[in-house]
Subunit: 202 residues, 2 copies
């Protein structure tokens, strides 16, 4: 497969998460030898993907672009959602993971990135002013910080605590500990330590 | 992700080999939230993929379409290849697996499918007449049958032997046995039996 077009397509598919060059080659070969309609239809759908779906203007979730109004996602548009509870996440992926639990009755705010001194991402690179405005506009009373339990995620949580302290809103952090079905024997010391520190009354 | 366009794209990506709905969702989410150029470029390349690359008119391998001549693949166009040795494979994927060994000096013929009574694929569905013509035209003296060592692959090999017998060409079948690095303890009885039956002098 030394053809230039094939090489370019392999490179593009290899940008997908978890796809290496070998997997990308398999995909391209499949599209080359399978039915002719699949690559054409994929092309049609991908061509307009980023024009038809944009970040929600309120929360940053994926939202359909409408000709007759602002781009607002299904969750922000849902009046049954409690606007006083706001869950702050790093990425849309995390929002979806939380939505799958069906345990979140409030709305979300997607930061889009985490504080990361190593990558040169400072507090000014996070959409804090937009978050402050949303909290004020919606009368939010509880903020659940659901950034990941990593170094950058924890640093971002602390930054949010500091920046939002003046609002007098209740702020909570999602629990970190041994996952469901996890074996204590194989839990790393940090996770085990957090599980201990976060213990609750039985 | 209940958007119709997103659902359609997830379905399309899930047609790729080894991609389930969850993986397809991850791909779509990545294309939705990553850089804007990747989905557009993928769209452009995929739109013309099947117009620019077609099966080689001689062997069925992937070949670039040219305005100034027939669609012939790189291998068939390569005069350093020995035209008297022909390797018959089921799919382009198999051709590429053999090419990676760099042990094949001859050319190929891609059947495109295997004999499969269960799926209603009979001898008349295989491109035997085209294969016979190629063997005669190129003065082939050895045919290596490299269909997979499966029920359908073996049935196809036997059919080829019968159909090509009258040409008086030497026909061989690739070896089947315990794979390199494989453990005899875990080899299935059919593989182990083939390894024994195919034993060679030390």
């Amino acid at each position: 497969m030394s053809n230039m077009k094939v090489r370019r397509l392999v490179q593009l598919f290899a940008r997908l998460p978890g796809v290496g060059e070998k997997t990308a080659q398999r995909y391209v070969l499949h599209l080359l030898t399978g039915d002719e309609e699949t690559p054409r239809e994929l092309a049609r759908e991908l061509a307009t993907l980023r024009d038809e779906l944009r970040p929600c203007e309120r929360c940053g979730n994926v939202a359909e672009v409408r000709a007759d109004g602002p781009t607002v996602c299904e969750i922000c548009a849902d009046s049954r959602r409690d606007p006083t509870i706001l869950c702050v996440v790093a990425r849309v992926h995390d929002l979806m993971a939380i939505e799958r639990t069906m345990a979140m009755k409030g709305r979300y705010f997607v930061l889009g990135r985490l504080l990361s001194p190593l990558e040169g991402i400072g507090p000014e690179d996070l959409p804090i002013p937009r978050l402050l405005r949303l909290v004020a506009d919606d009368g939010v009373t509880e903020i659940i910080v659901a950034t990941p339990p990593s170094v950058d995620g924890e640093a971002t949580a602390l930054l949010l605590k500091r920046e939002l302290a003046s609002l007098g809103v209740s702020m909570t952090r999602i629990a970190s500990g041994v996952p469901h079905g996890g074996d204590l024997e194989y839990a790393d010391p940090i996770t085990m330590g957090r599980a201990l520190a976060g213990r609750r009354g039985l």
